[in-house]
């Protein structure tokens, strides 16, 4: 502070000038005398200034900056490892502060607090929040005001004072209670109540300090502070108890005869053992050893079966992934082109099923399993007389696993046909090229047949062409029928341990049926059977197609006479199939390139179709009464819908190359819209029928209640009536009209 001394000097100077002036005036004596009484005191170190120096004007400027503030204060920062400048201290000087825990009733904090007190369910009297009271006052040590009363002084130590309206008598007690409040919040309820009671008189209400936390409502009547309790150690018993040794009861009577009998019994037993032990010991050892061995093998077998099952599932999963696109096509692809071409359809090739070992064999038969619609049996043999393999296979393929057959049966000559029992889907019978038949139980094993025909007489003389399971006999025996090119139809019954064979019919030629034998005898000429089909509703009636091109309608009851003879074809009849909806209608195919549709007991066919090459197989569709499909040796699949076109196939599609390969057999899936066809290279193709090939009948508007079966039957009936109306003599749908252009 350099300024104050200068001021002093100024003052001194003015007084001096005054002195000088005063000495000049006369009436100034008194004044001088009065003035002289005042002695000027000079400090010792006062500067002696000259007149000029004293007359110099010194200008003083007042600025608002606080020169006392230290501006270059630094602090060592441990974080940055250097000195940093500290922030400027403010110009404000706090003289006094009164922190309090009372709030204004309208403020935000007060509102929140009231809400909280509502939450704890503890009633706080709202309407009295009018005056805000200071309950805790902390005063800055330095700036303690003189105005503070003595009563307030204890507050400075952090203690709470009773409110101004509080009675002096209760002061000590309250203080104690307040302290408790600080320690344990639990007691606050009670303490608070009292303080409030006291303060009601003053019209001020205290709000508990630090009240931002939720608090528990406690029992106000006999609550005991936890801190006041001492530990009570739980009582423990030190003794132990053991379990007494277990006891039992026993009693008997000792009599001489008891002793005697016991001895006798024991002695007899000993004698027996002595007699038996010599011979039995060895046997027992041997049997036990065998048993052990058997047990082990059985265990291993079970384990293998389990593993096999796991692998099968895994294989199917892999296949599902590999053939995902085909699977999608199979489920969802409907050829959009079908909408635009009327009365034409096509086939979408799906999976190909083949087995490594049957690559060079012909597919000789395909049969779908009646219970598992995805499973079908494929027979492998040869149709070529000169190239007969010395092995044959029956493979069960499933759509779920196109890469490998699920079951494989191997035989020592070509398998020509098979059939799966409709009631026992695991029973499969196969017919072999050498005339034998064998029944397999697929469920148990595929290696050894359950039954096999044995001996010279108990088999067909030539290749078995077709097999059919018959309905169970009256006493429940399972049986099947077979037809062979030796001209016989056999009925085989599965007895307890063998096949019992009966000849049903020996096919003979009706016209020119005898030939001259030696010595003038007559020899009846035989016809070779080539296919067999049972009437769907009358199991006693069946049709046999022969190698001479006839179809005979026969009965299982008698064999001397045919019920009907159809002069069907000029070459061997390959397959016959009954219509699914009308049992009087059947279709036949032959090596003379033709497919003919017949009605029962009508000598002439209703329809004739010429397919341009030998027709290997023909089948009616399971879903429609007018749709059937045929395969030819040209490698083509023909699908007919008589309702759409009576003269031409609505779909002709080559499945395999014409020169290299031929198609042999065909089967419709019973549930889903695809067919499988077999070729000569051992491959089975599956083909999806496009929507035009499986059109259903739309019910007329007035007859919406009719179901599809009725409608299908009606459709076929309508069609037949058109054909039947033609005069008797005229050749129906003459071949000339249907010959391929």
């Amino acid at each position: 502070m350099p300024d104050p001394p200068k001021k002093e000097k100024k003052k001194n100077r003015t007084s001096k000038t005054k002195l000088g002036e005063g000495g000049g005036g006369g009436d100034a004596d008194d004044f001088d005398a009065w003035m002289k009484s005042r002695q000027l005191v000079k400090p010792d170190d006062q500067l002696d200034l000259t007149e000029a120096e004293l007359g110099e004007e010194v200008i003083k400027v007042l600025t608002p900056t606080n020169t006392n503030v230290v501006r270059n204060l630094v602090v060592y920062s441990f974080k940055e490892g250097e000195y940093v400048s500290a922030p400027l201290p403010g110009n404000t000087v706090t003289l006094i502060s009164f922190p309090g825990n009372s709030l204004h009733v309208d403020s935000e904090d007060a509102r929140r607090q009231i809400e909280e007190s509502d939450e704890i369910g503890y009633p706080l009297p709202m309407p009295n929040y009018s005056v805000v009271e200071q309950r805790e006052t902390i005063i800055d040590g330095e700036e303690e005001g003189e105005g503070e009363t003595d009563e307030d002084k204890p507050d400075a130590d952090g203690k709470q004072s009773p409110g101004p309206g509080g009675g002096g008598g209760g002061g000590d007690e309250e203080e104690v209670e307040e302290e408790e409040e600080d320690e344990g919040k639990g007691t606050e309820g009670g303490a608070e109540q009292e303080t409030r009671d006291d303060e009601d008189g003053g019209g001020a209400i205290a709000i508990p300090g630090g009240g931002s936390k939720k608090r528990k409502l406690i029992n106000q009547f006999n609550y005991c502070e936890r801190a006041t309790l001492t530990y009570v150690n739980p009582k423990r018993s030190v003794d132990t108890q053991t379990i007494p040794p277990s006891r039992s009861q026993f009693g008997a009577n000792v009599l001489q005869w008891v002793i005697y009998d016991t001895y006798q019994q024991d002695f007899d037993q000993q004698q027996k053992q002595l007699a038996g032990s010599g011979s039995k010991k060895d046997e027992r050892n041997r049997t036990s050893r065998q048993k052990k061995f058997k047990d082990k093998t059985a265990l291993a077998k079970q384990l293998n079966a389990k593993y096999l099952r796991c692998w099968q599932i895994l294989e199917r999963m892999i296949n599902q992934n590999i053939f995902d696109d085909i699977g999608m096509d199979y489920r969802y692809w409907e050829d959009p082109a079908d909408e635009y071409r009327e009365g034409e359809g096509n086939l979408l090739p799906l999976w190909k099923f083949q087995y490594e070992k049957t690559k060079k064999m012909n597919v000789t038969d395909i049969v779908f399993n009646p219970s598992y619609y995805d499973l079908f049996a494929v027979c492998f043999g040869s149709h070529d007389f000169l190239k007969q393999p010395n092995e044959g296979y029956l493979c069960f393929f499933t759509v779920k696993n196109p890469s490998f057959p699920d079951y494989i049966i191997q035989t020592d000559c070509g398998v020509m046909c098979c059939d799966i029992h409709p009631n026992y889907p695991f029973l499969t019978v196969i017919g072999l090229y050498d005339g034998n038949v064998a029944v397999y139980n697929i469920r148990e094993n595929c290696k050894t047949p359950l039954y096999v025909s044995r001996g010279n007489k108990c088999k067909h003389g030539e290749c078995v062409w077709q097999l059919k399971w018959g309905p169970d006999m009256t006493d429940g025996e399972i049986n099947f029928y077979s037809v062979s090119s030796d001209g016989t139809v056999f009925n085989w019954i599965l007895m307890q341990n063998k096949l019992w064979v009966t000849t049903i019919i020996r096919l003979y030629l009706e016209e020119n049926g005898t030939a001259d034998g030696p010595d003038g005898t007559k020899v009846t000429l035989r016809d070779g059977g080539s296919c067999l089909q049972f009437h769907p509703t009358n199991p006693g009636v069946y049709l046999v197609g022969t190698e001479c091109g006839f179809i005979y309608k026969c009965s299982t009851a008698f064999s001397s006479k045919y019920l009907m003879t159809y002069h069907a074809h000029n070459m061997s009849v390959y397959r016959i199939d009954f219509n699914r909806f009308n049992v009087n209608i059947f279709v036949s195919c032959s090596g003379d390139w033709r497919v003919k549709v017949w009605e029962d007991m009508r000598a002439d066919p209703l329809f004739i179709f010429d397919l341009g090459s030998a027709v290997g197989d023909v089948k009616w569709a399971p879903y429609s009464s007018t749709v059937f499909a045929a395969v030819t040796t040209e490698g083509k699949v023909h699908v007919f819908d008589l309702n759409v076109n009576k003269y031409k196939a609505i779909c002709v599609q080559a499945v395999v190359p014409k020169r290299k390969n031929k198609l042999t057999r065909l089967a419709f899936n019973e549930k889903l819209h695809f067919i499988v066809v077999g070729d000569e290279k051992g491959v089975t193709h599956s083909l999806k029928l496009s929507p035009n090939l499986r059109v259903m009948v739309k019910p007329p508007k007035k007859q919406l209640y009719l179901d599809q079966t009725t409608l299908q039957i009606a459709k076929l009936e309508k069609l037949l009536s058109l054909v039947r109306e033609l005069p008797e003599g005229e050749v129906v749908a003459d071949a000339a009209t249907t010959v391929r252009s």
Binding site: S248, Q249, F250
Partner: protein, 104 residues
């Protein structure tokens, strides 16, 4: 007739004197030891069953712990409770029954 009679007599004459265990639940090891002991005791005091019983009891007490009870006699009935695995009911010498059990 004479032959038959002779045969019958021959049947009857067979008298078994080997020790025959009628009932026991002792362990194999203990059983053989106890049978041996009782046989030797009964042979030693073949005319005084009391002494035989006393001998067996004392030996058993020493070997398998105290509180053994032993009865030796030709005709009696009994109904006892015993600590399991500690009973033996034995016939010996064709006319003797020995029962021993442990129960504290």
């Amino acid at each position: 007739m004479a032959d038959e009679a002779e045969g019958k007599e021959a049947d009857k004459k067979i008298v078994h004197i080997y020790p025959l265990i009628k009932h026991t639940d002792m362990t194999e090891e203990m059983r053989t030891e106890v049978v041996e002991l009782s046989v030797s005791a009964c042979e030693k005091f073949s005319s005084n069953y009391e002494l035989a019983a006393k001998l067996i009891k004392e030996t058993m007490d020493k070997k398998f712990g105290i509180y053994w009870h032993v009865v030796v006699g030709e005709g009696f009935g009994f109904e006892v409770s015993y600590e399991t695995e500690n009973i033996l009911y034995l016939f010996f010498a064709g006319n003797l029954a020995i029962v021993m059990w442990k129960c504290s």
